[in-house]
């Protein structure tokens, strides 16, 4: 009779152990595939991949999944199997800031260097000359 709670708690303990372990990837580094493979695989599935980085031994991907949902997912680096999927919240500041950085960069590329652009706010006439001493 008394063994029941013991077995129960033991099995719970074991369960939580496996649950914890499942978050990380433990593929040996020698078997890892390059992240380009993952990018190609995901893009073929309809993802828009924004960034792939390594986190806890997994490839962590940020982007939009095949349903167009903004997501953060983790993949095993050797098998490229999905380990975790999370919806990215819209109010994630970092996300917006990254996008704004990208937009800044894009604007600079499209319109040329900031040094050659003319101001358009109507107050300043012509391009100011600037020096830092």
């Amino acid at each position: 009779m008394k063994t029941k709670p013991l077995v129960l708690s033991l099995s719970l303990l074991l369960l939580s152990g496996t649950a914890l372990a499942s978050d990380d990837c433990d593929d040996p580094v020698a078997n890892w595939q390059p992240r380009e493979n993952l990018r190609e695989k995901l893009e073929a599935e309809g993802w828009t991949v924004r960034r792939i980085k390594v986190d806890d031994g997994c490839y962590e991907v940020k982007g939009r999944d095949s349903n167009g949902v903004r997501a953060e997912a983790e993949f095993a680096p050797a098998s490229l199997k999905m380990m975790k999927w999370e919806r990215e919240e819209d109010d994630d500041d970092d996300e917006y800031e990254d996008e704004r950085d990208d937009r800044d960069r894009l604007m600079n590329e499209q319109q040329g260097d900031a040094k050659t652009r003319m101001p358009s706010n109507g107050i300043v006439k012509g391009r100011p000359s600037v020096t830092v001493e």
């Binding site: 800031e97 704004r100 950085d101 800044d104 604007m107 900031a114 040094k115 652009r117 003319m118 101001p119 358009s120 706010n121 109507g122 107050i123 300043v124 006439k125 012509g126 391009r127 100011p128 000359s129 600037v130 020096t131 830092v132 001493e133």
Partner: protein
């Protein structure tokens, strides 16, 4: 005779606005020697009541940090059209930024003020670091800042 007078009048009328419009102004912003990264600094114009009128220069290239220049951010609503073509690198401690630009004559001696907001990473944001009325009389006279800016001087040409 009448014709030459008319031509003269026309010539003056055409030339006057161009003559009156452009006024070259040099703004010299000297920073304090503080311990910290490069400062984001914005120079902008307000009317006498402090209402935003226009951006003169933004030192600092990443627009994601512009919200820390809070007085300016509120006034310009961070509309890229307000600062497009008017941005450059941030300024490091102890250095001096000199900007020479052409301003409409009507902005001088008309109650407008030059304001400077400044911010440094992991340090306080300073709204209205400097407030200086834009007048002929004030030309060449340094105005002290209360934050990262030691002084602001403008020279009207």
């Amino acid at each position: 005779m009448k014709k030459t007078l008319f031509a003269l009048g026309l010539a003056i009328a055409v030339a006057m606005p161009a003559f009156a419009q452009a006024r070259e102004v040099t703004f010299t912003t000297e920073l304090q020697n503080y311990r910290g990264d490069g400062a984001y600094v914005v120079l902008y114009l307000t009317d006498a009541s402090g209402t935003y009128q226009g951006t003169l220069w933004v030192a600092g290239e990443k627009s994601k940090y512009y919200k820390h220049l809070s007085g300016w951010a509120r006034g310009s609503r961070l509309d890229p059209a307000e600062y497009d073509g008017l941005t450059g690198a941030s300024i490091t401690s102890g250095r001096t930024l000199k900007i020479t630009l052409n301003l409409d004559d009507s902005l001088i001696d008309s109650g407008h003020e030059v304001r400077v907001d400044s911010a440094v990473e992991d340090m306080r944001d300073i709204r209205a670091d400097v407030v200086a009325p834009l007048t002929t009389e004030g030309s060449g006279k340094p105005v002290s800042g209360r934050g990262y800016v030691r002084s602001l001087t403008y020279d009207l040409q």
